[in-house]
């Protein structure tokens, strides 16, 4: 992993957020290097999605620092995050249901003509190009996204994230709604994006989704980081132990949430 010589793309340090009395994320630190896939694992409710939503601007953190390229970053809303090249594919498939695929891809960043009106044909053209690469079977460009299948909606969401030269990609359960063939496609896509130097956070509660794709895994439990490890240094069973028991194996760097021996 000589790529770790370069500066980290993203550093989240000592992030905390509480909803009411519950500390959903409690002093979590995690980093991501260019061209690296970091799997963020943990049970439902472990705080993975919440932590990542802080990075994508959907939630505002109570305390902690976010650094991008070593510089302190101000992220207060999704627009700020996009400004740093952070793109997110949400677990809930946050697509606008009643507009078509092209409109979704460009939502918030529409192409316009010289007089400032929407350039729908140019957007549709670009959409056909991107979708053709991602999902060649996709042909329903004129229909509202509501009418599409789960897999098709997912490819729209992914296309949207990669369309604007993202540097940091966050994928929250990207394959949860997909069939086996589409899951393989997403896996190939992740490898392709990784080779282009994009840093990817892959969030999942299913270790099998993540283990083969990730360079490192970071396990969370009860809002705290149990530990971080290179996937080459730990076995799946050890990671499972981290997820279920919070027990940090010798190959991993323990975090504040590791079980005290």
């Amino acid at each position: 992993m000589n790529q770790h010589v370069t500066a980290p793309l993203v550093e989240l340090e000592d992030i905390s957020i509480a909803f009411g009395g519950i500390r959903a994320v409690d002093g979590a630190s995690i980093d991501l290097f260019p061209g690296e896939v970091v799997g963020l694992l943990g049970h439902n409710g472990a705080g993975k999605s919440t932590l990542i939503k802080i990075l994508s601007g959907a939630y505002k953190r109570d305390s902690g620092d976010i650094r991008i390229d070593g510089q302190a970053a101000t992220i207060n809303n999704p627009r700020d995050a996009k400004g740093y090249g952070i793109e997110t594919i949400y677990q809930t498939l946050a697509v606008a249901d009643n507009v078509d695929a092209a409109a979704n891809l460009f939502l918030g960043r529409e192409l316009t003509t010289a007089i400032g009106t929407l350039d729908d044909v140019a957007m549709e053209h670009k959409a056909r190009e991107v979708m053709g690469r991602l999902n060649p079977n996709f042909r329903r460009f004129k229909e509202p996204v509501k009418a599409l299948s789960g897999g098709q909606r997912q490819s729209v969401a992914i296309a949207r994230a990669i369309l604007f030269n993202a540097r940091i990609l966050i994928m929250d359960e990207p394959t949860a709604a997909l069939g086996p063939q589409e899951t393989t496609q997403v896996g190939d896509l992740i490898k392709q994006l990784k080779s282009e130097g994009i840093g990817i956070f892959l969030i999942s509660h299913d270790i099998h989704d993540v283990f083969d794709l990730a360079d490192r895994v970071c396990v969370m439990k009860n809002g705290q980081v149990v530990g971080t490890a290179k996937t080459t240094d730990v076995t799946k069973d050890e990671v499972l132990g981290m997820i279920i028991l919070g027990k940090c194996p010798p190959g991993a760097t323990p975090g504040p949430g590791a079980m005290k021996e």
Binding site: R79, T92, A96, N98, L107, G108, T117, L118, V121, E124
Partner: protein
């Protein structure tokens, strides 16, 4: 794999790839006419023909249709804004009261302040008055919109409060006194023999509109060709052009067939030394100015809703507010802008209503909010958000007004009129629900 390639090389659009079935289906898919819109126009024609027979041939006369167009103008203008409000899952109950207070402010501006400042009958009075009204509408809209968007009070409550507040404010402007008569130029916005553009100008406008329809179809075709997208067959484009131009020419022919009342025409002839031929002088009304304003509002609002980023955001927000927010859209500011637009349209509607009455009264616009919402909903705007068209809402307004006009011609009692309108509203929305469920 082979069929996949064939599919993607011949056509990327599923609709044109599956043109099968009977000739009607083929026709509909080739022309891409909205079946829902077609259904509404069909229903409107049924209503017209029905009333024509039930009223003994009084309904589909140039005179009645001309009046119908003028009566519809004010509500249809407000309905175009209500579409955007309802599409984003909000509601505006205050439009009638807003119309009232703006009409009063404009009335006082043009009869009391401006004549004292500029002199009575100054040609700029109507412009300044309209500007004051629009500024007023924008300000009230911004206030209500900000409370809804930033303080997160539900639109229903904010505008229910506005309904009471602005009705009270309308009274306050003159302590309930009616303001009349209004400025003579301002009055042209209300229609009447003077407030119509006349025979020649109407035909010129018809020609311009036909050229615009043709130009738009050609432009859209060129745009599709730019990226080699599937196109409509040429005959389908021809049919669309023919239908559009036919509707324009037909409407103008009807408006031009309605002459000035005999006495007014005689006065006009005497004043201008025109000899009166046997059988009376025929001076056509042509298109009424309020109708032109309404058409203009419809075109501009359609443009805003479909061709601008703002319009795109409105529909995206209506479909999935959370997704729109996560996509980086400033949803609160968009909400404020929608209500500002609504306020502005209320000001335009207020000038038409008060100009038509030649007076501003503090009861003006009472119950208009309900007709505006009903028009938008009959026009296919879904109260659950995300769906609606401007042209649909305007046709909805025409349907509502046609019902009222027809029942008056039939001599129905006014309580019965309310009952019928209420039933029609519910039935229309029920039919629309059936249509939508079938579509899914």
């Amino acid at each position: 794999m082979a069929d996949q390639n064939a599919m993607s090389s011949t056509s990327s659009s599923s609709s044109s790839g599956l043109v099968l079935g009977n000739p009607i289906q083929r026709f509909m898919s080739a022309t891409e006419i909205d079946t829902r819109l077609l259904g509404m126009i069909g229903a409107l024609l049924l209503i017209w023909i029905g009333f024509h027979f039930m009223s003994g041939g009084l309904f589909m006369t140039p005179r009645n249709l001309w009046n119908l167009s003028v009566q519809t103008a004010s509500i249809s203008i407000m309905a175009t804004g209500m579409v955007l409000v309802i599409v984003t899952r909000n509601i505006d109950l205050s439009v009638g009261s807003l119309l009232g207070v703006i009409a009063m402010v404009m009335g006082v501006t043009q009869t009391e302040y401006l004549p004292a400042l500029l002199g009575f009958g100054h040609p700029l009075i109507w412009v300044i008055t309209l500007a004051v009204g629009i500024a007023c509408g924008l300000a009230i809209g911004a206030l209500q919109g900000s409370i809804i968007a930033y303080l997160k009070v539900p639109a229903f409550i904010v505008t229910l409060g506005g309904y009471l507040v602005w009705r009270g404010a309308a009274w306050w402007v003159t302590s309930g006194r009616t303001v009349a008569p209004l400025d003579t130029t301002f009055r042209l916005m209300g229609g009447g023999p003077d407030g119509a553009v006349g025979y020649t100008v109407s035909w010129i406008l018809a020609i311009v509109a036909c050229l615009a329809i043709g130009g738009y179809l050609i432009y859209a075709r060129q745009q599709r060709r730019r990226f080699n997208f599937p196109q409509r067959p040429v005959w389908a484009e021809g049919v669309l052009a023919l239908l559009g131009c036919g509707a324009v020419i037909g409407a103008v022919a009807v408006f031009n067939a309605y002459p000035w009342p005999i006495r007014i025409a005689e006065n006009y002839a005497n004043a201008n030394n025109i000899p009166i031929p046997d059988g009376g002088l025929f001076i056509a009304h042509g298109i009424a100015i309020p109708v032109l304003i309404a058409i203009g509002a419809g075109v501009v609002m359609t443009f805003i809703a479909t061709r601008t980023r703002f319009g795109r955001y409105v529909f995206a927000m209506g479909g999935s507010p959370e997704a729109a927010e996560l996509a980086g859209i400033n949803t609160r500011w968009v909400t404020v802008k929608i209500f500002m637009l609504m306020g502005m349209l209320c000001a335009v509607a207020a000038s038409i209503s008060s100009a038509r009455l030649n007076a501003a009264t503090n009861a003006m616009g009472t119950l208009d909010e309900l007709y505006v919402i009903a028009a938008a909903v009959i026009g296919g705007t879904s109260l659950s958000g995300g769906v609606g068209t401007i042209v649909g809402a305007m046709i909805g307004a025409l349907v509502m007004q046609s019902l009222q006009s027809g029942m008056v011609l039939m001599g129905l009692d006014s309580p019965l009129q309310s009952i019928v309108v209420g039933i029609v509203l519910v039935v229309a929305v029920w039919l629309d629900t059936l249509y939508r469920n079938r579509g899914q």
